[in-house]
Amino acid sequence: MAVVQTRNLTKVFKQGEIGAVNDVNLETREGEFLVFLGPSGSGKTTLLRMIAGLETPTAGEILIGGRVVNDLAPRERRIAMVFQSYALYPHLSVYKNIAFPLKAQKVPKDAHKVKVEWAASLLGIRDLLQRKPRELSGGERQRVALARAIVREPSVFLLDEPLSNLDAKLRASAREELERFHRRINTTTIYVTHDQIEAMAMGDRIVVLHKGYVRQIGAPTEVYDDPADTFVATFLGSPPMNLIPDTDVIVGFRPEHFRVASAVTDTDKIPLKFQVENVEYLGAEWILSGALVGGRFNGKKAVSRLLFGQEFEIGKTYDFAVPERRLKFFDPVTEKKTAARKLAWQ
């Protein structure tokens, strides 16, 4: 087991262009499940590939287990990686796929069988050992890729969107399996995804990346409840946080905190008039979108997320409210979080 650290890590692909990864400083904890979350082009995969040794950093340092590994080849870093496409060796059987890292690292041959069977039974693929990758389903391939990764007991696991090739139903169960798997082996894991649900569900901590910069590092509750800037605020959560621009501040509140006034039990609540323009029924919840009416925020768009929405009519205005403690404030220039303040709402 080991801790991964990056110091001012930067990757510029073409000189003169903006870096794919810029000045990233982070440190995993022992045995942690750390998620890199960001939209496509945010540099999360590049960051992971630099840690794996598949990409050379332009500047900065990578440390694994306290040792600078910048100049080490991937195989010398004691890492394992699962690729988005799984990258199984198509001409080799499942058994030989899993045994390949052992063979490559010159583990004595008589130990192979025990190790491969251990890894295969951990992932429930002992019946598939003689098959070729093309004879496997997506979920089975993913397990083979995981088995190939754990078989040599690496100190760090790197997973690059391993669930994105699975269909929606399988993804949920595979996600849960991955969580159990991590709990059992308890190895430091870095997981790249663009899916906020995966990130929230699996991550011990989340690193939110945007355009190559780290926007926030924190536990799922921290990033969700206390976003560091407007990007994090809108990237996490569906529908995203309501951001209402004012003269010198941006006010934010989550749709689930923007509710019918009578349902808000907090004493310090901000009353707002809300004209409903659209109602969506999503089964477990209702999404109301519309505009604020009256006061200084007249006409500003807002979204509410409710458990019950039957009674709302399109075009009508209702009394809504937000608990004051749920309000977030952002600087309109830097877009960073700023101190809470009193606002004149009317």
Partner: protein, 331 residues
């Protein structure tokens, strides 16, 4: 209720215009041009007509000469003679007794086998080298391809001078660096073993670009993550090459080898220009022997019989090629 989706949907459907105005009855189309999913099946004549040029071409260029060769092989036809008689297997009997013929068969196999081994090893090395990004890769790739695009006879004549007994640049260099004394340098095309080695090397030089292009295509078709996964799994350059890349390229290597065999086994350009089969038939191959016997020796019947010996081998290769192509489709 705020939304009444059923009523809404109905009224929407009534109001909605058709997706596109239907003008099919106003547009005139030629009758046979109505393309339905079955296509040409509707008009077998059209299909046959479109297929005919290819069939005629093949019959004229390949079928006709092949049938003629078979007929000639059983006759006593000679260049300039006006009549021909059926002689049965007489031609084959006399060929099989000829030592030159046996040498040519042997040489054909040596020539093909050796040049293919050199080409496959060479093209794999080149493909691996040229796949990496480096400065001037484009120019390098172009230069590698040159021997293939330049006319064969030009290249072969160039080599004839390079290997010439008096003016060879190779010998000039060897003498200049004092490896050989003047007038004792090797006669590249004049000594049996050296002559064979020379034609094999020149043939390899000629086929190398084509094989390299095929290999390069095979190598770039391997998804980038697979060698990357191998690198992370702990494989070095050689293990990745021999256990991952080459096995994954096997189907395409097969194609390169089969093409190479056909190009080499049936070809006489290099042999004809460099050595004309000599010295003492030491570089004589089947096609060149057929040519010297049938055309230059004016014994058309014997030449045809010699060339028929190419057929069994080519049939086997054609069968292997079709099988490889079929397998490639299945995977």
């Amino acid at each position: 209720m705020a939304i009444e989706p059923v009523d809404d949907a109905q009224s929407q459907a009534e109001k909605a215009p058709p997706l596109a105005p239907d003008i099919s009855d106003k547009v005139k189309r030629p009758k046979w041009g109505k393309v339905k999913s079955a296509g040409a099946a509707q008009s077998p004549l059209l299909g046959a007509a479109m297929f005919a040029p290819a069939v005629l071409y093949l019959l004229a260029i390949l079928g006709g000469p092949f049938i003629l060769a078979v007929i000639y092989a059983f006759s006593d036809i000679r260049i300039g003679s006006t009549e021909m008689h059926w002689v049965g297997l007489e031609n084959f009997r006399s060929i099989l007794q000829s030592p030159s013929f046996r040498t040519s068969i042997e040489n054909s196999f040596i020539f093909t086998f050796c040049s293919q081994v050199i080409v496959i090893i060479g093209s794999t090395i080149l493909a691996v080298a040229l796949e990496k990004k480096f400065r001037g890769r484009g120019i390098f790739r172009f230069l590698i391809l040159l021997p293939w695009v330049a006319p064969i006879s030009l290249g072969a004549i160039g080599w004839k001078w390079i290997l010439d007994s008096l003016y060879s640049v190779i010998n000039w260099v060897l003498v200049a660096v004092h490896l050989f004394k003047p007038y004792e340098a090797p006669m590249w095309l004049g000594e049996p073993h050296l002559a064979m080695a020379s034609v094999i090397l020149v043939q390899s030089w000629r086929l190398l670009p084509f094989a390299t292009v095929i290999m390069l295509a095979g190598l770039t078709a391997i998804p980038k993550e697979i060698p990357e996964a191998a690198a992370i799994d702990g494989a070095g350059f050689w293990r990745t090459l021999f256990e991952i890349n080459i096995p994954m390229m096997l189907p395409i290597i097969n194609v390169a080898v089969l093409f190479g065999i056909i190009f080499t086994f049936t070809d006489m350009t290099v042999v004809y220009i460099l050595t004309a089969g000599g010295p003492f038939d030491s570089t004589q191959v089947l096609p060149s022997y057929a040519y010297f016997t049938g055309i230059l020796g004016s014994d058309l019947a014997a030449g045809a019989a010699v060339s028929l010996f190419l057929v069994p081998l080519l049939v086997i290769i054609a069968w292997l090629m079709l099988r490889t192509a079929h397998r490639a489709e299945v995977v």
